[in-house]
Amino acid sequence: MATLKVDDVTLSFGGLNALFGVSLDVQPGLITSIIGPNGAGKTSLLNCVSGFYHPTSGDIYYGDHKLNKASPHQVSIMGIARAFQNIELFSGMTVLDNLMLARHKNLHYGLLAAMVFFGKASQEESQNRQYVEEVIDFMELEPYRKQTVGNLSYGIQKRVEVARALTLAPQLLLLDEPMAGMNIAEKEDMVRFIIDIQKERDATVVLVEHDLGVVMDISDRIYVLDFGELIGAGSPDEVVKIPKVIEAYIGEE
């Protein structure tokens, strides 16, 4: 599995630096968390990695691929999947179709084959459906399979969002606040899913999250951002001792 390497990335909008000289490594197979106060640039960093923004300077490497100028669909084909902070599902489609859509790159039949829908098209659809069903099973979404996503509750939609990213069969999964706005029980479920994703599906997880309890419990490595700059890095135990981090979170006396 490849390492994600962010090297001295700066992202500016006009005079405003959303990210300034950020460097970090995401080691394969681990859960890496990025934390920081609101507006620290966490989501901007994820946007740079997944191709929605292109860094003003600096480089992003995933294995041997350089991601600086890659667009989101190219990034997703390299095996990097993204779950969004604000739910960005296809609200008019069923859960099943949302997940089948993530199999887009694995379906190879042409337009004519699709119009006839016989042989290859039908076969590939059912093979990929098999994969989708595995994910549905994994994320415990069975009761909602045929329901329109727009009608589901917030917690379930969040879960579908993660499931859809997972259906891309990613090696690197970027989760942007998967637990925002959830109650304790739902959070516990989600934490269990994230750990299972890492352990059972052998994916590297990058987690952006505000709930420090969760982050400290499950992360292997933490990076702390504040005002677009990296102010601390290390294991959970190390990070809580860094004075700048304490300052950013608790404030000075």
């Binding site: 929605f52 969004f84 609200s91 008019g92 039908s122």
Partner: protein
């Protein structure tokens, strides 16, 4: 467990492939087959006048055109008010051949299925070109871009000598296995041809919608950012949606040219574009059945309103003008009422009816 394929109750799927089917129960398929047979048989049983057959043929052609518009506007979410121009592109493809080779050239009269496909192809190419602004523009701005294509099309036809400044360019009568299609057979012959096209393309659309090529359209409509992150090129998908829509419109245009045995610019004006959009809305955007209901409803309404206006005009000659205004008035009223009270269109009534019968007689 014994499988029951006839009713929705007890119809268990044992493979994913079984669940892909269009008709989930045998009753569905049987009813549909009977309906289809009926469509093919009824003109042989009943005596229908040419005039009425023309109305039905026109509706069927509109269905083909609305397939395309529904894919573009309903499924891909790209509103187009230049659809009649795309239909015109198909028709004028034939007109171009007629002008260069003569209206009775063997290509037009003998190889007409090829010409219909070609018109579709030209429609698709022009559609893709007109769709290019969708790479940058969204929503209302894109609508204006399609409107400008409508205007460009009208002006090009109106001011080019080659197309006789929009006056009717004749297309010859076609031949088939039994020789030339005569004046008497004309509308019946084209009824069957167009019906066949409607059925084949209908199944094509239905299949498309359960495949990746249909899903990506809906994905781009619902959330093109997320679609991008899922490995779909949103720009390409939008242009492809325009091309697809152009293909259907082109085919409809070629059929129109053959049916009317001529191509004139006044069949492809802005009014017709809005008419197509109204058909898609009234039928139900984003549904396949909507493409059938819409054209039938709107064209039947126009016909009936005309009859009523004529009837009223006989008795109250003083308000003859009012009766004339009745047609656009009722047309607008229907669209507004649908948008207000049934934005999901007639297709929603169909869905409700179907759900009722699915559960009947065992309602929970």
């Amino acid at each position: 467990m014994a499988e029951n394929r006839w009713l929705a109750t007890g119809n268990f799927f044992t493979s994913y492939r079984a669940e892909q089917r269009i008709f989930l129960t045998n009753i569905d398929r049987l009813v549909f087959t009977c309906f289809l047979l009926l469509l093919f048989v009824w003109p042989l049983v009943f005596e229908v006048s040419n005039k009425y057959m023309l109305v039905i043929d026109t509706i069927l052609i509109a269905i083909v055109a609305v397939y395309g518009l529904n894919l573009l506007t309903g499924f891909a979410g790209l509103i187009s008010i230049g659809h009649a121009a795309f239909v015109g592109v198909g028709a004028y493809t034939l007109a171009t051949f007629a002008r260069i080779l003569g209206s009775d050239h063997v290509l037009l009269t003998h190889y007409w299925p090829l010409m219909i496909l070609l018109a579709g192809g030209v429609g698709a190419v022009i559609g893709a070109i007109v769709g290019l602004p969708s790479l940058r523009l969204k929503h209302l701005y894109l609508v204006i871009a399609t409107l400008s294509f409508q205007m460009i099309f009208q002006w090009t036809i109106n001011f080019s000598r080659f197309y006789d400044q929009g006056q009717t360019i004749a297309i010859g009568r076609v031949f088939w296995f039994a020789g030339k299609v005569t004046r008497k057979q004309h509308y019946f012959f084209w009824y069957y041809v167009i019906l066949l096209v409607v059925v084949v393309l209908g199944f094509a659309v239905r299949n498309l919608l359960r495949s990746k090529h249909g899903r990506c359209l809906v994905a781009v409509r619902d959330n093109d950012r997320a679609a991008d992150a899922m490995g779909i090129h949103p720009g390409f998908t939008k242009v492809y949606a325009f091309a697809l829509s152009g293909f259907f419109a082109g085919v409809a245009g070629a059929l129109h040219a053959y049916l009317w045995r001529g191509v004139g610019f006044e069949s492809f004006t802005l009014h017709h574009s809005i008419s197509y959009l109204a058909m898609a809305i009234v039928g139900g955007l984003g549904t396949l059945v909507g493409s059938f209901f819409g054209p039938v409803a709107i064209l039947m309404l126009e016909l009936q309103v005309e009859n009523i206006a004529e009837f009223v005009g006989h008795y109250f000659t003083a308000i003859g003008d009012v009766a004339t205004a009745f047609r656009p008035l009722s047309f607008g009223l229907v669209i507004v009422l649908f948008l207000m009270f049934e934005p999901r269109g007639i297709a929603n009534w169909w869905r409700i009816t179907r759900t009722y019968f699915k559960l009947w007689p065992f309602r929970y």
